[in-house]
Structures are given as structure tokens and as C-alpha cells.
């Protein structure tokens, strides 16, 4: 067991590294401890700069530095894996309302979308049920590529500069997916109807014929012919993007 005195000394060193506020620490060489503070600050700053390049460019230098130094000082990093730390940074900034403080309403959405891009890119491989490349659009079950997130934004930061996006408050739905072949991450803006379809397919692979009555109940669209005419190109475009991998009749 460590003695309380040793624990206290270790904690003081760590506290100083986090806050930059001097602590009384015995037996240190003059002017050396600050190197640890600087190295740790740089690791956090570099990690966030790499994860959130668009946010960093949008904020002023002072605002960015404030986020990084407040985060380091006030947040207790929980992940042992530094590449996951941007997720904690996003939550910290959101929970502490910097968007209001900076009068930059779209800040949370921008951090969120930059993080989700990393999350989808790195998310552990999920095995996919068996499927075939060709099938019958109406009767075969559609098999989704599981490497995606459906998200809702208040500001359209995915296709507007964040400053502009701040003036466009609304409900924006996005599919962020990892291409099964290239592993690259892409964004696709969706209407609520298409979000609904992807949600249904996620819960349970089904065919377009199975989907139609569900859509009818949820959205009151009973013109089947028009619906099918819309669904077909949508499904085909999802297949081209590898969001739908293929078909199954099992």
C-alpha cells in the first residue's frame, strides 16, 4: 500500500499538471515540473485539434484555448485510450454550456458531428448476417450495413459553415455511415420518413412489402404506388452507398 503521504504527493503533481496552479511538492528540482504540465497540455490540445479541426477553425484562439485548459483542469478523464477522449471533451463542452457563453449556438452540434465521424470510422467491426448481392426489392429482406449512426442536429453544421448554421435552427436528420468497401465515412441528410425506414430495418431486417404498412400507419401515406416510386430510388441509392449491403430471403 502506498502511504497517504506518497499518495498526497502524487496527487499534488497530477493536480498541478491539470490546473497549472502551483502546488507545494517536496523534493522537486527547480523549474522542471512545468515540463509535465506542458507535455500533458500539448497531448490534450493535439488530440482535440486533430479530432475537431472545423470547430477549432471556427472558434477564436482564446475560445479554443479556454476549452482545452478548462477541460484539462476540471474534467477527470475516464478513458485510458486517448483517442476516445474527444468524446469526453464534447460532453464536457456541452454540459458546461460554452455554446451560450461564446454565443456560438452551433458549437455542440459541430463538436458532435466531428466526434461521430471518428466514432463511425473506428467503431468495432460488427458481423453481418448472410446476404446476397442481388434480390427482389419487394419481397426480399434488406440487410443493413451495421456501421452507421442516425443523428439529429438542431443546426445544419453538416452542410453550412457553423456561423451560418447558427441562424438555421430546426430538425436535421443525418445518416453517418462507414462504406463497407472503402471504410471511408460519409454523411447523408435524410427526411423523417427515411429515418423511420432505416430505424425499422435496424431493429429487424424486412422487405419493402413489410415496410409499406408500417409507413402507412406511422405517416398516413396510403398511396402505395407513389410510395414505391419514391422508395425504389432511395433503396437503390442506399445499396450503391453500401448502407444496404444486399438481400436475404431467409
Amino acid at each position: 500500500m502506498l502511504l497517504n503521504e506518497t499518495i498526497d504527493i502524487q496527487n499534488r503533481v497530477a493536480r498541478y499538471c491539470k490546473s497549472g496552479i502551483e502546488e507545494d511538492i517536496p523534493g522537486v528540482t527547480k523549474n522542471r515540473l512545468h515540463n509535465y504540465r506542458r507535455l500533458i497540455y500539448n497531448i490534450v490540445d493535439d488530440t482535440m485539434s486533430t479530432a475537431f479541426p472545423i470547430t477549432k477553425e471556427w472558434l477564436s484562439r482564446d475560445e479554443w484555448d479556454m476549452l482545452v485548459s478548462d477541460f484539462l483542469a476540471n474534467h477527470s478523464a475516464q478513458t485510458p485510450q486517448v483517442w476516445k477522449l474527444p468524446s469526453e471533451f464534447y460532453s464536457y463542452v456541452k454540459n458546461n454550456n460554452y455554446a451560450n457563453r461564446f454565443k456560438k449556438e452551433a458549437l455542440n452540434d459541430l463538436l458532435f458531428i466531428e466526434w461521430i465521424e471518428i466514432e463511425v470510422h473506428t467503431t468495432p467491426d460488427i458481423s453481418v448476417p448472410e446476404y446476397k448481392a442481388d434480390g427482389d426489392l419487394l419481397s426480399d429482406k434488406l440487410i443493413l450495413n451495421p456501421h452507421f449512426r442516425l443523428i439529429q442536429l438542431t443546426y445544419p453544421v453538416h452542410n453550412h459553415h457553423a456561423g451560418e448554421a447558427s441562424k438555421n435552427r430546426g430538425n436535421w436528420y443525418l445518416l453517418i455511415y462507414r462504406n463497407q468497401e472503402t471504410n471511408a465515412v460519409h454523411f447523408m441528410q435524410l427526411s423523417q420518413l427515411y429515418v423511420f425506414i432505416i430505424e425499422q430495418l435496424t431493429d429487424n431486417p424486412m422487405s419493402v412489402s413489410d415496410l409499406i404498412p408500417l409507413i402507412n400507419t406511422a405517416f398516413g401515406i396510403d398511396d402505395e404506388a407513389t410510395l414505391l416510386a419514391n422508395l425504389k430510388p432511395f433503396i437503390e441509392s442506399l445499396a450503391a452507398k453500401t448502407v444496404i449491403l444486399g438481400y436475404s430471403n431467409k
Binding site: 506518497t6 497530477a14 523534493g27 478523464a77 475516464q78 486517448v82 467503431t123 456501421h147
Partner: protein, 277 residues
Amino acid sequence: MKTNSIGIGFRKDFADEFIDNSNFSPDFVEFAPENWVDMGGYWKKILDKVTEKYPAICHGLSLSIGSAEDLDMVFLKKLKKFLDQYNIEIYSEHLSYTKAENAHLFDLLPIPFREDAVKHVVNRIKKVQDFLERPLVIENVSYYTPVAAEMSEEEFITNIVNESGCKMLLDVNNVYVNAFNHNYDTKAFIDSMPLDKIAYLHMAGHTKVSDDLIIDTHGQAIIDPVYDLFDYTVSKINPVPVLLERDFNIPETNELITEMSRLKEITTKHWEGVKCF
């Protein structure tokens, strides 16, 4: 893993070279499990290719063997699965702490060189070895200031290695850096290490930031005095694998190949034909 073999740290910044460059053929690679556990998609495919092509060692970052905190069993479980999955026999970590007051700091802080810390670390090494069902190899770290020390660095390291029964990763550059920063004699320091317990060696470059301070950046080429110390160290120990660490400011691959060849020349000079002594 062959004993007289020279490896290099596998980094994303020059990952393609490991797969595509036929002139670049390290004997083995080393990487931090923290950077790869839970990783899917593009990077997992790259890691799979690299570990298929080269034998691998894992060198951890966040175990925080010197912390007062409990060991992170959630991470250790993932780590064990990962080491098993990739057939990793050697797992090394730093003799430092990276977590305090329930916060990870992602850098290697200096453990106070004290008797209670020796006992504490020895205890934790044993726990980790038992859980992972493989030996833990402990590395001497660079440090920029002692903190409340009651013994020398040599005593601290030697006591921990001897009492825990663990193996040691001897970082020759770290010995040079510490000797410079704290006015030691480099060779006397090497002599004082438990040289019969060395599992492998690290070599790296560093950055001199002022007249009296070197920072262990792994961002420059190895300098001649560190090669000299390496030569001295190699002359004193049985053959073991040697790893070149390069994390920042990655040069043309040919420069890395040249550094690895120079390391191999030295090890071959001392170890060629040598089985054991």
C-alpha cells in the same frame, strides 16, 4: 521472437511503409494496445495486415502501475482478450503513473522513489501478471525531476524488478536522458541495472531543450553518445530483441532503415554466434 532482432514502433503516421515498402523489413514491431483496442474499420484491417506480417510486442501507456488508484479491470479484460487475439507474448509498461484522483493524464509521471512505492508497485505487477497470465515487462522511464525521493533511481528500479520477479525493458536512451538531466554516470547506471533480467531494449532519439534539460520526445534521430551507450549495454547482456522508437517528426523511411542497420551492426558485433554467457 529471435533474440538478435531489431524492431520498430508501428505508428499510424507511416503505417503504409510496413505493408508496402519491400525495402523496409523490421524483424518485429511494437505498438501501444491503448491505440488499437476497440478499433474497427480501416485501421483494424491495417493492424491485421501488420500483425500477420511481423511478430509483435505490445507496449502499454495507461496501466499506471504506480497509481494509488485501483487497477482498471475493465480495460485489463479488454487488453487480455486483445493480447490473446493477436498472439502477443511480450507486454511491457512504464515504471510511472498516468492516473491520479480518478483522472487519466496520458503522460508518464515520476513515481516518488520510496520504499512504500516499491512495495505497492511490486504488488500491482504481480496482480497484473496473474490476471494477464503472461509476464509484465517494466521499463525505466525518462523523468525531468525527482519527486520526494528517498532512494536513488537505480535502487528503485532494481528493488522492484528483483522483488516482483518481473522482466525489464531497458531503455538506453532514457538512461542517457536521465543521466544528463540529473548528472549521473551513464555506464555506472547501466552496470547497476538487473542486467540478467532484460527482456528487450529500447533505443530512441530525444530533444535537447536547454543547456541542462533533455526531453524524451522520440522525435529525432539517435545521437552518437546514445549509440555508444547502447554498444556498452549490448556488450554486457545476453542477446535480446532491440526496438527503435520513433513517434514524431517521422523521417524518410530510409533514415529509419539506416538507424536499424546501425543497431544491428552493434548487436551482431557483440552477439554473433553467442548463445548465452
